[in-house]
């Protein structure tokens, strides 16, 4: 029964792995693709963090909290292991984003990818330390650098998101103006036109909401980046929160990540 439920869950999420061999008559379902698995484990890790914080607040049994913490640490170290080759991914992504046509996304995304490559290098060094291969490095120093790199790369991503949002808002405003100018210029209707103009210049928030609703990839990307920001803000001491908020934000961003893997059309290009 459990594998059945699991199979249905996967079918629902449609995390299908496309086989590389087009002539193979194997089925296209090949279990969970690594990035999807990583997102699931990340979601579970942040859920543990959140649950641990909730239990602490309610003075739950110490054994459960300790078990959750151990589980979270184990998932974190496992994910670090599987992140080992990712600096190459970030460099290749930087090579691709440098060819984007628009200036601002080109600069922001390339910078973000290069900084992410640095983050993965720091992450690799931290992994080597945790495994005992580099016992003499200062963990706190490298962790600080890793957090700073992650923070700046998120800021670059958010800058790009804000640029896209402002561009879309401008477009929406111009569309409103065009609609306005298409009304026939009749003195009898002038009062009507004035009323229409007042009604058409909507306040900012509803316009933002309607713009984002029409562009779900941008909304998802912005949400993901904002949620991801909570952890480095706390670590760097810029905006201290508690493990509960970090867990909740991490869980939310992992769910968004799973959604963009399951439905690739929701991924922001």
């Amino acid at each position: 029964m459990l594998p059945d439920v699991y199979g249905h869950l996967c079918a629902f999420l449609d995390v299908r792995y496309r086989t590389e061999d087009p002539h193979s008559n194997q089925s296209k379902w090949r279990g969970l693709h690594n990035p999807a698995m990583n997102m699931f484990i990340r979601a579970a890790q942040y859920a543990c963090m959140l649950l641990g914080h909730v239990l602490e607040r309610r003075a739950g049994p110490g054994a459960t909290r300790a078990a959750l913490r151990q589980l979270e640490a184990s998932m974190s170290s496992g994910r670090k292991l599987f992140r080992l080759g990712n600096m190459v991914h970030a460099m290749v992504a930087a090579k691709q984003t440098i060819q984007l046509p628009d200036l601002v996304p080109r600069i922001c995304l390339t910078a973000s990818n290069l900084i992410r490559a640095l983050y993965f290098i720091c992450d690799t060094v931290l992994w080597l330390k945790s495994v005992g291969l580099l016992p003499h490095i200062y963990k706190w120093k490298w962790r600080n650098w890793a957090t700073k790199c992650y923070y700046y790369s998120l800021l670059m991503n958010l800058t790009r998101d804000l640029y896209e949002i402002s561009w879309l808002l401008e477009q929406a405003a111009e569309k409103e103006k065009a609609k306005e100018n298409s009304f026939p210029w009749d003195t009898q209707d002038q009062d009507l036109i004035c009323l229409e103009t007042e009604r058409q210049s909507q306040p900012f928030l509803p316009l933002l909401y309607s713009t984002l609703k029409k562009h779900p990839p941008l909304l998802l990307d912005t949400t993901k980046n904002l949620c991801d920001l909570s952890s480095p803000l706390d670590r760097l001491g810029i905006y201290k929160t508690n493990p509960g908020i970090i867990g909740l934000c991490g869980l939310l961003s992992s769910l968004v990540g799973i959604l963009t893997i399951a439905k690739p059309h929701l991924k922001l290009k």
Binding site: P3, D21, R30, G31, L32, I41, G78, L81, V131
Partner: protein
Amino acid sequence: MEAWVRFSAQSAAKERVFRAAQYACTLLGYTMQKNGAGAELLARIKQLEAHMSLGRKLFRLGNSAEALEAAKRAIHLSDMVLRFCITVAHLNRAMYFACDNVLWAGKTGLVPHADQEKWSQRSFRYYLFALIMNLSRDAYEIRLLMEREASGKRPKGTENGHQAQVDNGLQHLALRLRIQLRLLGHVLRSNPPLLLDLVKNACDIFIPLDKLGLYKTSPGFVGLCGLTSSILSILTIVHPWLKLKP
């Protein structure tokens, strides 16, 4: 760099690389121990190996369902022997992964009272059965291909056959054995996927045989076999035409 991105985008690729690294650590640890290395270095290698093993177990959490899916697909194969061997192999793999999940839960503290030794033995037993099924499938495929080759050559060979009957019985047997071996060599050389799969399964089978105590070898030999089979499976990922189908 792009080649690495393409490679690691495939689902089992990174896991195979870490498997290779894990068994390389086993082999390295054994070699260093034989050469009288310090206890601290050996402890570090063991820690690295344990770390990779636990990380791999974490990312294998979904493989039970994948193996069941593969078994469901294999049931529709046309050949009866292949259908039986492959389906049973996948079912055993599914059980192996389920035991592996229990081991992971025990190691991370989710199920603290799990008997690690008992579940480890169980998992290796299922792994052994799966490998035996894979080897049976390989043997069946080899047999089919050899029969096909032999029947293709028979019109040429009938005259030689008459001559062989005249000779001594033992010589006749030796000749037949030589012909069979040559045929086997020819079949394997002209079917690289089958050869690769056979070598991979043959290397892999020493791991559960050692862990279950059925055929004890040294940790170094187990490490070498694991490393070889991991490298061969990485090869089948890099060159998908080398993968034995179905």
